[in-house]
């Protein structure tokens, strides 16, 4: 903000340079992985090398695509609902202490339920369609959003509250004007946690019972000993999650820039 343009540019360049580091680390990792597999002559069914994995991705690209779309659909739908509910309940809990005290423990409980265990119940209650999958994704993603949002919403600045009260702001208005902007960074860190769980959540949800999706594809590859395809699947899941993550980061940057926090 207040640096001369020159240093600003430099800084930008340096950061761009830094952001290559993880890419380099990943490339090195892949390289060593391949080297290790070659050197120790590891059999591909124990640990396929990256080349084998990428080949598998290429070979199975059509199949992968259909399954990806299914899983992505579930993940996005669930994520959407989770974000909506997370924000709504975050707001409610941040705004209203009784609600917080009453709901918080219940939400914690929903988090602690090992969902896969209850798979048959989910199948019995909600069948094998889209709904139970979305529910599972929601249950996995909802909590981090609402908890981090709430936590930042309840941080109070007494003087700010005072001045707003004097100006005649209702409780809600004062909340909207002072607390919500202040809690947006918290919301975003919750969102980041949530998106990284959404794809995995959708995959797990498919294990309850499904016809299509990366989760199904995965188990089928696994039980028919297609280890390379299994890895390809994992790779795709990682990539999808990262894309979602980056998206959130992008939106955050826009937002934070616009709101321009201290």
């Amino acid at each position: 903000m207040k640096k001369s343009e020159n240093t600003g540019q430099n800084k930008k360049h340096r950061e761009l340079g830094l952001s290559i580091i993880p890419a380099i680390i990943m490339v090195l990792f892949v390289f060593f992985w391949q080297a290790a597999v070659d050197f120790f002559n590891v059999q591909p069914f124990i640990l396929p090398g990256p080349i084998t994995v990428f080949k598998a991705i290429y070979d199975e690209r059509n199949l992968l695509l259909t399954h990806i779309l299914v899983t992505l659909g579930e993940a996005l739908a669930g994520l959407g609902v989770a974000i909506f509910l997370g924000i709504v309940f975050g707001l409610l809990m941040g705004y209203c202490k009784p609600v917080r005290i009453a709901l918080y423990p219940i939400f914690v409980i929903t988090q602690t339920i090992p969902l896969i265990i209850l798979a048959p119940l989910f199948a019995i209650w909600f069948g094998f369609g889209f709904l139970p999958k979305v529910i599972i994704v929601v249950l996995m993603c909802f909590f981090p959003i609402s908890i981090t949002f709430t936590q930042d919403l309840i941080k109070s600045d007494e003087d700010m509250d005072s001045i707003l009260k004097v100006m005649g702001a209702s409780k809600w208005k004062s909340f909207r004007l002072a607390r919500i902007p202040q809690a947006l960074p918290g919301l975003f860190s919750g969102l980041k946690i949530a998106v990284t769980y959404s794809i995995t959540g959708a995959v797990i949800s498919e294990w309850i019972g499904a016809k299509q999706g990366l989760g199904i594809y995965m188990t089928r590859a696994m039980t028919s000993f297609k280890t390379a395809v299994l890895f390809a699947d994992v790779f795709i899941i990682i990539v999808l999650s990262l894309v979602l993550y980056k998206l959130v980061e992008l939106i955050e940057k826009r937002f934070v820039k616009r709101i321009d926090y201290v």
């Binding site: 069914f45 399954h67 048959p120 019995i124 294990w207 016809k211 280890t227």
Partner: protein, 310 residues
């Protein structure tokens, strides 16, 4: 919990759900063939085949959320002992095609050789009891086996890395895969080793309510299934292709080889595909009871029926 009875209309196909035991494989070929070849449609059915969470098919069928499912004789026995009204309506494979496999170099040829070795399984007490029974029968000391729980870990990965020495596999699946991989295995056929273990695995199940209220549905379904398996028996290659077409995610070479192996064994020495014998049921039920897995003897004649086979 069942769907209301409807007069079969030629146009409107009745929607039916069948759950597998887990991932699709050659045990399920008949179902997929029946679906693909229109054998179900001929019966006025539209069958949806679902891959469920492992080991949950029984509960799902018992609840009626799916009308049919794939299970095992042992599960049905468990269920009935717990007053869950499942019933087996066909044996998919006439004899037990599972057994204990190990890498050739481990030299495990008989249950006696289990001594001093590591067994990797999914952690059920049933496995322990089975191994103990086999070893005791062979006069070996069960306490010398190490039982390790390896969950769903891949047999090849765990044995090639020396984590385990032997495991319980389906000959028609992992056994075939070993050949594909060029690995030589020693295989101890469970059913041959002890007749009591020649039980039915897998079986097709439904629940008693459906049986009572919509016998026609079960008849229709089984007609389709039977036709499917009979087709697979006669045309292993086409059947394999159909399975691959329906489930392209699974290992295609494995399916082809496995199908060749299994096609002869679906019916095997039985008069017709799917027949179940009371003797087989009784034998294994007694064994389960004797080993304390069930706390009451079930009436095996109610646990299965051949009514839909003939």
């Amino acid at each position: 919990t069942t769907q209301p009875l409807q007069e079969p209309q030629p146009e409107a196909l009745k929607k039916v759900t069948a759950v597998l035991d887990w991932t699709p494989n050659t045990n399920h070929t008949g179902l997929y063939v029946a679906k693909d070849k229109g054998f179900f449609k001929e019966q006025g059915l539209e069958v949806e085949i679902i891959q469920p969470s492992e080991g949950t098919s029984d509960t799902i069928v018992a609840s009626g959320k799916a009308q049919f499912g794939i299970s095992y004789q042992e599960s049905v026995t468990y269920a009935r002992a717990a007053d869950i009204p499942l019933i087996s309506i066909a044996a998919v494979i006439q004899h037990n095609t599972s057994g204990f496999a190990s890498l050739k170099e481990k030299n495990i040829l008989t249950p006696k050789d289990f001594e001093g070795k590591v067994y990797g399984g999914w952690g059920s007490e049933m496995e322990e009891a089975t191994i103990r029974y086999l070893m005791e029968q062979a006069g070996a000391d069960f306490s010398k086996v190490t039982i390790m729980t390896t969950g769903d870990a891949d047999f090849f990965q765990t044995s090639a890395t020396g984590q385990i020495d032997f495991a319980w596999i389906f000959e028609g699946w992992a056994g075939i895969e070993a050949k594909q991989k060029g690995m030589e295995l020693n295989y101890i056929d469970l059913g041959k080793e002890a007749p009591v273990f020649d039980y039915y695995t897998p079986v097709i199940i439904t629940n008693e309510t459906i049986l009572k209220e919509d016998k026609a549905l079960v008849e229709a379904f089984m007609k389709g299934v039977k036709k499917g398996y009979e087709y697979a028996i006669k045309n292993p290659e086409e059947a394999a292709d159909i399975l691959i077409k329906e489930v392209p995610e699974i290992n295609q070479e494995l399916v082809r080889e496995s199908q060749k192996f299994l096609s002869d064994r679906y019916q095997d020495d039985a008069a017709t595909w799917g027949v179940q014998k009371e003797e087989v049921w009784q034998r294994y039920t007694d064994w389960m009871f004797a080993n304390g897995f069930i706390d009451k003897k079930i009436d095996v004649t109610k646990a299965f029926t051949n009514e839909f086979i003939d």
